[in-house]
Amino acid sequence: MQEIDACTACGECLKHCPVQEVTGNPAISPPEKIRMFREFLRATEGLKAKFLGSQSEIDQKLLEDFTRAVYECTTCGACGEACPVGIFSQRLWPMLRREMVRRGLGPMEPQRGMTKNTIDTGNVYGQPPEARYAPWFPTEVHVSERAKVGYYAGCTGAYEANPMVRGDALVLGAIGEPFTMLAPQDEVCCGFPLFITGQHDLLEGLVKRLVEGYRAKGVQTLVCSCPCCVNIMARDWPLLYGSPLPFKIRHISQHVLSAIKGGKLTIKGNLDEKLIYHDPCYLSRGVGVIEEPRQILMSIPGVELVEFTRNRQQSRCCGSGGAARKAFHDNAIAMGRLTIDEAIDKSADRLMLGCPACYAKVNESMKDHDSKVVITDVMELLARHVA
């Protein structure tokens, strides 16, 4: 609420909103979402509503526009990064969504099955647990029953971005340090898609189940593939669990870079290519993991790294975030294509990604697009260059 009130309506965020860029829809702009929410609160909980004993007439069109605007956002947080008063928008929009769900106005149609899917199968996609690892996990990589390092593949990686998580597993195997994983039926959703769509009912149960599972395996460092998982685990799991976690949370790039610097991972071969790395919103702005993927890429001999015009904490969203990529498919495709086009403009040979949602959607964006670029995940590439 403080953040809603802190907005000065200066409009500085407008030039950073990726959805606004592709839709031109003023209702989706950050200050307009805030203004509409204030109107909404006034109409439902304002002085008039309270003392007249009934809710004021709320314009239905306004309500529909507002709900859509709140869910159309990719929650990339670029607006917050530019905000002169420091509004943490990457958190604000999910909290507005929680309010919409609480009032029966959200989530969007494609997101409504998430809770049931999670209850039935442990993941929001409704995919069978037995297919979580089998299609991609390299059989030559050994998983220990108990270890200090745990690996959480994540639902999106496991079911929609297999090359990415396969790369993770191969690199972890190459490091040689024992690591453990939960059984496929036990590695349930980290809660992020439910959190981001405002459907919070299952969160506490999911978190407790996962934390206890990793604790039982002796995990002291939980390494995650997906920036969104890292984000919710680092920021929200302690609150949902009710106490500090018994293990550290790290993104795979942090763990792998540490292994490279510690001499546990040897890079072999050469790659004479120009790579461009896209900072995932929830990795750069979300938890401040920015240089690690770059240092990994630069450790491969022959690599030349170029940057997007907006990079690091200012990176432009590729369109895949906020659980909006399926609910607002056209937006996500348009934003994905902007990412591809800029990579080509920068003469990159390869577009490097570090997020399974980005990986899935940007690849999909390229399918019927005139311009093509090779898209690879950081670990997927590194796995080809490790002993």
Partner: protein, 227 residues
């Protein structure tokens, strides 16, 4: 009759302002905790927040042209407001007397800073955002600052009587008030401005503090010396 009308208006504005503050505090208190973030250094965060409030560095980074106007506006508005303490405090403290010349200078700058802001936002900013609240606020601020400037430079009012009116509000006495049009316009514009004063003056410092705390804590969220 005139004094009674303006006294009623003054009390109404004070009531609206008090209600808005109380309502905000109630809503904020009901908001709850969003996420657990490791606490950063409070002292360092307070210092960074003070710098954020005093110098608006985030706006400078985002839009240097707009920053010139916004910083000038906020600084001159603050100084002009402090200068008005001479109407509320009796006797007037030395420090308030001392800052009068600076207050006069700020009074001259204030309306022009508003005009500058409006010009920049409506001509140079590709995506400008203006709500009706913005427009009203700017209009009342401009009228109040311009009329205040006019009161100083052109149409001097009876300052002693103006002070008597203000003191009478706090002591519930009828002590008279100036009746010249410029003073009444200034007062009305000020009342209107106070009634719709934006909530960000309360919320922004808190959010800035929280943002600085988050930024400071970000380094330890998923990082440590060994990584």
């Amino acid at each position: 009759m005139l004094e009674l009308t303006f006294k009623t208006a003054a009390y109404a504005v004070m009531a609206i302002f008090t209600w808005r503050v109380a309502w905000r505090i109630y809503l904020w208190g009901r908001g709850g905790v969003n996420a657990q973030t490791p606490a950063g250094s409070r002292a360092a965060t307070l210092l960074r927040t003070a710098v954020d409030i005093l110098l608006l560095p985030r706006l400078l980074e985002a839009n240097p042209l707009l920053w010139i106007g916004e910083w000038t506006f906020h600084a001159s508005f603050t100084i002009v407001t402090l200068r008005h303490l001479r109407f509320i405090l009796n006797p007037v403290p030395e420090c308030v007397i001392f800052m009068q010349p600076l207050g006069v200078l700020a009074g001259y700058i204030l309306p022009f800073s508003l005009i500058y802001i409006v010009t920049v936002r409506n001509t140079l900013m590709r995506d400008s955002y203006y709500t009706s609240s913005n427009l009203l606020l700017t209009t009342f601020a401009l009228i109040a600052s311009a009329s205040g400037l006019a009161l100083h430079a052109l149409w001097r009012t009876d300052a002693a009587l103006a002070k008597a009116f203000v003191l009478g509000l706090f002591t519930f006495e009828s002590l008279g008030m100036p009746s010249d049009a410029m003073f009444l316009a200034h007062l009305l514009a000020a009342f209107a401005f106070i009634a719709i004063i934006p909530s960000h003056i309360m919320a922004a410092p808190i959010v800035l503090y929280d943002s600085n705390l988050q930024r400071g804590a970000m380094a330890s969220l998923v990082h440590d010396d060994t990584c």
